[in-house]
């Protein structure tokens, strides 16, 4: 299925240029695995990067490269060439090698959270969210950005219906109350800049969950 909700072009540029923090870049990369449109676009944006690199006018001090050349020569002699076949594993498989069932889910009721299995501190803003089929997340508001990428199932809120591969970026102060699709549990990867504050009746519980 092709994604319908895409990162805007400025995010794709920051991704292609390499200035996006790795946690956010991970969300974009996972979206790209579902989205040919954005993949093509990123490729064009990388070609622009290549042309800009090609067009740099080096200054005087950049042209002294004799020691860098000597070092490179000794480095290539001591490093084996890379394998001719690139890894066939997708980023999805690398992040969740054993599928979602083997994540350590925590939380009570219809909404569960899981940290990513790797302990990379640059990825600490990312976590998995699992909403039981048909369940509703209380109305919440957040400070800072909240990104949601659907990895399984789907959910809806007052802005639309989201399916596998869709990336939803919510800015500060948006209020929304997602409901999971009825047929299966919805699993999302989320990037949260700051802790969510839940204002629904279950608020304190979810605030607690989101801090785990």
């Amino acid at each position: 299925m092709t994604a319908i909700f895409h990162p805007d072009q400025h995010l794709l540029i920051e991704y292609a240029a390499g200035s996006l923090p790795i946690a956010k870049a991970t969300m974009i990369a996972l979206h790209l695995e579902h989205c040919t449109h954005c993949r093509q676009k990123v490729h064009q944006l990388e070609a622009l990067g290549g042309q800009l690199l090609h067009d740099i006018k080096p200054e005087e001090q950049d042209s002294d490269l004799s020691s860098a050349w000597q070092n490179t020569l000794s480095m290539i002699q001591s490093t084996p060439v890379a394998s001719p076949v690139k890894r066939k594993q997708s980023l999805m498989q690398r992040l969740f090698p054993q599928g979602f069932e083997h994540q350590s889910w925590s939380g009570v009721g219809p909404v569960k959270n899981a940290k990513l299995n790797n302990a990379d501190p640059d990825m600490s803003n990312l976590s998995l969210l699992r909403i039981r089929a048909g369940a509703k997340i209380p109305v919440h508001h957040h400070h800072g950005e909240e990104w949601t990428l659907v990895l399984q199932g789907g959910f809806s809120d007052s802005y639309g219906n989201y399916h596998c591969g869709d990336l939803v970026v919510r800015e500060d102060h948006d209020h929304h109350a997602p409901v999971a699709a009825a047929n299966e549990d919805c699993i999302c990867l989320t990037y949260v800049e700051n802790n969510l504050k839940f204002s629904g009746p279950m608020g304190p519980i979810y605030s607690f969950i989101s801090k785990l």
Partner: protein, 204 residues
Amino acid sequence: MNSLLKSSSPMAKVIPMEHKEDQFAALLEKVAIKQDIKAFEAIFNHFAPQIKGFARVNGISKLGENFPDELVQEVMTSVWRKAHQYDRTKAKASTWIFTIARNQRIDMLRRTSRQRFEVSSEDVWEEPEVDGPVVDVQRKHTEKLIRGHLMSLPEEQREVLGKVYMEEKSHQDVASELGIPLGTVKSRVRLALGKLKIMMEPWQ
């Protein structure tokens, strides 16, 4: 060092017309097939000063005075190691080398803050991988437009693209640095991409 670049002979095997302009693709293939050190030196002579210039503006030079050279060495070593993964039907040589430099820079900056990390830039920023002959034709068309029109963009648009790509600044950082609103940065980027015919959102 420059004489090598000029003396590099054209590839012997038949190359489709549209690929001929990319002399560096041919050099990368020589490195891949024959571990041709002369071809590698020609690539180095062209791209190493560019990469060093890139390192001068993108934050690498702030790590210490040896780091720009180190970025050059890391990138060029990767170029050597991965040359056989390069596929000229998927990307221009400069695009491919740019993605390697971008990824090495990211890891170099992250390495300074910790000993090791679980997820490397290569996991998240893949090398160019685009499918299908239609895409290939469209890609070449876009590359031609980019090459032809980049220099004729208004200065303010080129300045913003340069900061976004070569200095690796977020749109917000560019806005703060230039003292202009974020919306202005975004609209300059949008205008530039429009002139370079970089695909507008197809879903619009």
